[in-house]
Each structure stands twice: as C-alpha cells, then as structure tokens.
C-alpha cells in the first residue's frame, strides 16, 4: 500500500510530502530499497522524533508499525526477538507478567524497537544502564544492496554501532533481539523532593547517582532570579516483592498501561503563553511534596511521564514546537548555567525542562549520550527562537557538548562536526554501506550527514 502524505515529526513543524509505503512483507521492502529513486527511503515508526528524522520530502517513507510480531522468546534467559515495529510499551506489557523488564525506556513508551535502535535512546537510568543498544543482542538490517544481514556487536562492531543512533541511515532495521532484565514487580519505589534552585538540583542529582538507578529532575526555567532552575527531583528503583504490602504481592507483576486523556486537534497556539506556562510551572512546583520517601508508583506512571496525556504536542497549536535537548560533559557546569541564564533571560519560556545525569558513552559515533548533564526543553516554534538556539548550539559545542539528533529540527549543518567528533567515522561507514544514498531523510539532507 502506498500513498503520498504530508509528514512532520512530533513537534509538528516543517511538513514535507513523501510517498508512504505501509510495509507488508520483506520482499516488498527489499524491492523498494533496490528501486529507490534519488530522494531515497527512510523508516518511520510512531513518529516520536521531534524533528525531521523520519520525514523524507519527495522520497519514500516506510511505515514500520505494521510489523509488530513477536518472533521468538527465550523465557529462561530473557531474550526476546521481535519485529522492529513493535512499540516499547507493547514489549514491556508482554514482558512484565513473566518477570522481565525492558532495560532502557525513554520518557514515552510510544517508540518502536527500530526507532529506539536508530536514535539509541536513553532513559532515566542511563547512568546505570546505558543506552538501548547496549541491551540489543542483534538486529536484522536491510541494507542498500537489498540484502538482509544479521548484525551483532561482536561480529559487526562498526555496522552495529553506526546503526545505533544512526537515525535510520545505515538501513532498515527489520527485527531485533533484546536482552531483558529481571524484575520482581511492576512497581517502582520513588522518592520525590523539591530543590529551591539550580545548584541544589545539580548537587542533589550528583549525590544520588549511586543510590538511585533511576533519576531525573524537572526544572523551572520560566522563573527568573534566585528561583531560576528550582526543580522537583523524582528518583527511584524497582520495587521488590517485599516492598509491596502483602495484599498487593499476588498481583505484583500486573502491568497497567497509562490511561490517557487525549488533547483534541485545533488547539489555538495562544493557549501556551508566558502566563499559562508560569502558572503551570508554579503549580507543578507547589504540588510536589517537599520531601517524600518510598512511595510506590506503577511502573508506567514513573517511566512514561510523557504518556500521561495523549497527543500533548497539539497543545502548541498549528505552528508546532521544538525540543532542544543537549548534553554538556561533567565539569562544564559553567556552560550549563550560561545556557540556563540565556533561556531564562529570553522571552521564550520553556514548558517542562528536564535535567538528568548521563553515564559514560557507548561506542556509536552518532549516539547522543556522553557522561554529563542533559537538559531537554520544549519551546513553541517561532522565527525569533532561531538566533537564540544558534547561540546555544555554539555554547554547547564549545564546551564539548552536543545536541540530540532525534530532537533536532533546526540546527546548522556547520556545528554538527564540532559536536560529534566522530561524524567522519559515521560517514565512512555510511559510504561503504550505502554509496548511492538509498537511505535518506530530511534530517540527513538538512545536516549534510
């Protein structure tokens, strides 16, 4: 099935038209790849990349979500082989009742396995668990020659790690085998506390690395002065059976997906303005307990904060929004404070900024995480935002940091090599795998990947 459609990323900006191929079987895909036109092919999952990573103006976009079967399951060892269109949330719902858990989950479960590999996603436990691809035993990659190869980190180190975070440009990930980890319950034990300013948030997060496998902080960047960067820390660990009250122990592995309210289409873009944002930020801060220890939360509530409200991207109206997520290495706290100061001083108030510590980097040349502080903020799209973010890019690049490609929708191509020092390694592998540029996307063209 094919048809032309206007596509955007989750941010809803810069639509382009592509021919959408709803993938049926492997041979059809291999044929699409072999006979791709000059605009090329890119895979698309659930469209949660904020920018143009899964858009391909004038080319082919393969909708992978129809390929969502479980292929093999080794319950003893926790190895599961699935098709790439299965979502992480579906995978989690399958695994939990058997006492297995998906070891890396980003802020939403609405991400396909293929998307998780291509963006090499991280979660609140990155400092303890690394990126998603660290837990991938192998995947099947349909490459530009139309052949399917099984890629493992040992036998094909370079191709494996170029695909991890490679934004779909090495080939179509068709299937993957994921190593799950064991858990005793579907619950988390969560500590929540407020911190009055940015320095306290940083100190608290740094202090908690050892104690909490999962941690993140929401920070308020809409409020200036001494309260700049005040935040709410939520940190936790998996609950053991004996953490649960006896009455809950029998159903301890019952997984409840988040129940969703959905934002209707047609929200005017004026709804999120400086005033409503600052009221929201104030309420969010006040509503958090000063300090609460050991609260039991259902896994999905803790892990998927972004799934509390469906289609929340519509809140930004027809012009959309961008998410700016960067990481700065530890030791570059001065740069982090400068970025925060510039954002707070601007008239672009972010709605929900999230700060977290990342652990050491994995080998992917385009894989985003490096050891350091990562800050993600959502900003309503407007032309005036451009110069500010360009400035922040320079600041981040100079301090040894980088911007997350799965979130990007506006960066200059010229700053990319300054952020990803191993960009040329990636380009060399792409050149070897795909000299015809069969795999291409708006992101790849925009950033000259």
């Amino acid at each position: 099935m094919t048809g032309g459609r206007l596509l955007t990323g989750w941010g809803g900006t810069a639509p382009t038209r592509a021919t959408v191929l709803s993938s049926g079987d492997g041979p059809a895909l291999a044929e699409a790849v072999r006979y791709a036109g000059e605009r090329g092919v890119i895979a698309r999952g659930l469209g949660r990349s904020y920018g143009d990573a899964a858009c391909n103006g004038g080319g082919i976009v393969v909708n992978m979500t129809a390929r969502a079967d479980v292929l093999a399951w080794d319950l003893d060892r926790g190895l599961i082989s699935v098709e790439a269109g299965l979502s992480l949330n579906e995978l989690l719902a399958l695994a939990i009742p058997h006492g297995w858990f998906v070891p890396v989950l980003p802020g939403t479960g609405q991400v396909t396995i293929g998307g998780a590999i291509s963006a090499d996603v991280h979660g609140k436990n990155h400092h303890a668990g690394g990126t998603f691809c660290r837990h991938v035993a192998s995947f099947d990659l349909l490459t530009a020659d139309g052949l399917v190869r099984t890629v493992t980190p040992n036998a094909d180190f370079e191709v494996f790690w170029a695909t991890a975070g490679g934004m779909g440009l090495t080939g179509l990930v068709l299937r993957a085998t994921v190593r799950l980890v064991q858990v005793e319950t579907a619950w988390m034990v969560v500590d929540t506390e407020r911190a009055a300013d940015l320095d306290t948030v940083l100190a608290e997060l740094a202090d908690g690395d050892e104690r909490y496998p999962y941690s993140a902080a929401w920070v308020d960047l809409g409020t200036g002065g001494a309260r700049t960067g005040r935040g709410v820390l939520t940190r936790g660990r998996h609950a053991r059976r004996d953490d649960l009250p006896p009455a809950m122990r029998s159903g301890s592995l019952l997984y409840r997906p988040r129940h969703q309210l959905t934002v209707p289409p047609g929200v005017p873009r004026q709804v999120l303005n400086r005033c409503s944002l600052s009221m929201f930020n104030e309420a969010w801060y006040r509503r958090a307990p000063r300090h609460r220890r050991g609260e039991l939360q259902p896994m999905s509530d803790f892990l998927y904060p972004l799934d509390a409200v469906g289609r929340w991207n519509r809140l930004y109206g027809s012009r959309g929004f961008v998410q700016y997520q960067f990481v700065l290495p530890f030791g570059a706290e001065v740069a982090l404070r400068r970025v925060v100061a510039q954002i707070t001083a601007s008239k672009h108030a972010p709605f929900l900024a999230v700060l977290k510590r990342l652990g050491s980097a994995d080998p992917g040349p385009l894989s985003f995480p490096i050891a350091g502080w990562t800050l993600a903020l959502d900003l309503a799209a407007s032309p005036e935002l451009g110069p500010l973010l360009d400035q922040l890019d320079d600041l981040v690049a100079e301090a040894g940091g980088r911007v997350y490609l799965a979130k990007d929708a506006r960066m200059r191509a010229s700053v990319l090599p300054r952020m990803y020092s191993r960009l040329d390694d990636f380009r060399a592998i792409r050149e070897a795998l795909d000299p015809r540029r069969v795999f291409n996307s708006d992101l790849a063209r925009r950033l000259a990947l």
């Binding site: 810069a14 382009t16 103006g57 004038g58 032309p383 708006d442 925009r446």
Partner: protein
C-alpha cells in the same frame, strides 16, 4: 530544508537584481549563512549584487536568465535544482513603464506582457514541478496591488500583474497538500529602482518591509500578503467602487 523555525538553507532569486528579492536575501542572511542562486541577465548590477551577498556571508551562484525568453526556462531551472534543493524561490522580475497610449509602442507592450505574465507563468510551472519532486518548498510571487483593480494610468502593468496574481493564487490552491506553498505578495508602491522615476504614492512602503512580510509568511504558511497590511481594506473598498467613480480618482 526550511527548518522548524522558518529559515531556509537555499534561496533562488529569479530577477537577481530585484531590490525586494535582495532584501529578502539579506533578511535571511542576517539569521544564517545560506546558499543563494541569483538568476538574471548578465550585468554589472548582477555581479555587484552577488559580491555584496558574498560579503554578507552567503554562498552565491549566478545563473544567466532572461524572463522574456521562455524557451530555456525549464532546462535552466531544472539545472539549478540539480545542484541541490531550493527551499524558497522568489519570482521577482518585472517591467514597469508608465506611458500614455500615444507613446506606447505595441512591441514594448508585448515585451512587458511577455516578461510579467508569460515569464512568470513559465517559471511558475517549472518551479512547481521541481518543488513537488522534492516534496517541500515555497514559491514567493511578487505581485502588486496594481493587479487588484487595474487603473487607466497603469493599465498595462496592472493587467499583467492581475494575470500573474491569478495564476499564482490558483497554483497555490492546486499545490495544497503537496508540501509546496505559494505566497502571493501584493505590495503597494515600493520605493525601489523600478519606481524611482515615479512620485511617491499613498501607503508607500520599502523593500525591507516587504521582505519582513515575506519571510514571516514563508514561516507561518500564509498564502497571501499585503504590504502594508492596510492595503487590504483599502483595495477592498477600491475594488467595489463603481467604475465611473474609480475612473475619476486621482490614482
């Protein structure tokens, strides 16, 4: 790509010495270094425009282009797209003569019609086809309020602009859903080299003001722009005046 915040990476000016076209280029250049293709007749003015854009940080290519000679348009524009995506193309060429009927030679009238209408149609179709293939882009057509209701004192220019305005407005609707947008710009009297010999009209504006309106429309997706905005209600009134009254107005 026109990015999420409305900044293009490449700009094509058809009519490479147009003051309004160059003002649009400078406006984008104040934000980012972009690639600019200047298409126009070879002249010192074109070279000077290119040099100034390079000095302002652009990477510039110049291409020889004559709006009146429509035969080579397709191969020429296809050649430009073959060098890389064009995100925004500005149709900025046009001829303006103010002549009374006694002085107007038929051959000059046909030349003006050929440039302003046929030339615009020829590049419009070619641009639309090329941009549809790339799945994105914006075509900016510099029309004029003169085409909204054609005056006796400017009937030739007005009629060509009426035609090109209708063409690009319809083209925009035809391209709905294609990822390609058409922005029809209707400025009033703009103080440029084209109008230097004319007295200032009421609601006169500048190339910079037109450029600001254009970049804003490219970002927001608006398909019709009046500069200044007051021109819209003013022209709405003028459009509905009885002909006997309109004819007597000192316009």
């Amino acid at each position: 790509m026109i990015d999420a915040l409305g900044t293009p990476q490449s700009l094509l000016l058809l009519g490479g010495t147009s003051d309004i076209g160059l003002a649009i280029a400078y406006r984008y250049l104040s934000l980012r270094r972009i690639r600019i293709v200047l298409a126009g007749r070879a002249s010192d003015r074109l070279d000077a425009a290119s040099a100034r854009l390079i000095a302002a940080g652009a990477s510039v290519e110049t291409v020889e282009f004559d709006a009146a000679n429509t035969d080579p348009h397709e191969s020429l524009i296809e050649g430009i797209f073959a060098m890389g995506d064009i995100d925004v193309a500005v149709v900025a060429f046009g001829l303006l003569d103010q002549q009374c009927i006694g002085d107007l030679r038929p051959s000059r009238a046909v030349e003006i019609a050929r440039v302003n209408y046929l030339g615009a149609v020829s590049v419009g179709v070619t641009l639309a086809r090329a941009m549809c293939r790339q799945g994105h882009g914006a075509i900016v057509a510099l029309s004029s309020v003169a085409g909204e209701r054609v005056r006796g004192s400017n009937f030739l220019y007005g009629s060509t602009k009426a035609g090109m305005d209708a063409f690009y407005t319809g083209l925009g609707d035809c391209l709905a859903g294609s990822g390609v947008r058409v922005v029809v710009v209707r400025p009033g009297h703009v103080r440029t080299k084209m109008t230097a010999h004319l007295p200032d009209a009421p609601l006169a504006t500048t190339p910079d003001a037109v450029a600001a309106a254009v970049t804003n429309a490219v970002w927001s997706g608006r398909q019709q722009v009046w500069v200044p905005r007051l021109m819209r209600p003013v022209m709405s009134v003028l459009r509905h005046l009885p002909r006997s009254v309109f004819r007597r107005l000192p316009l």
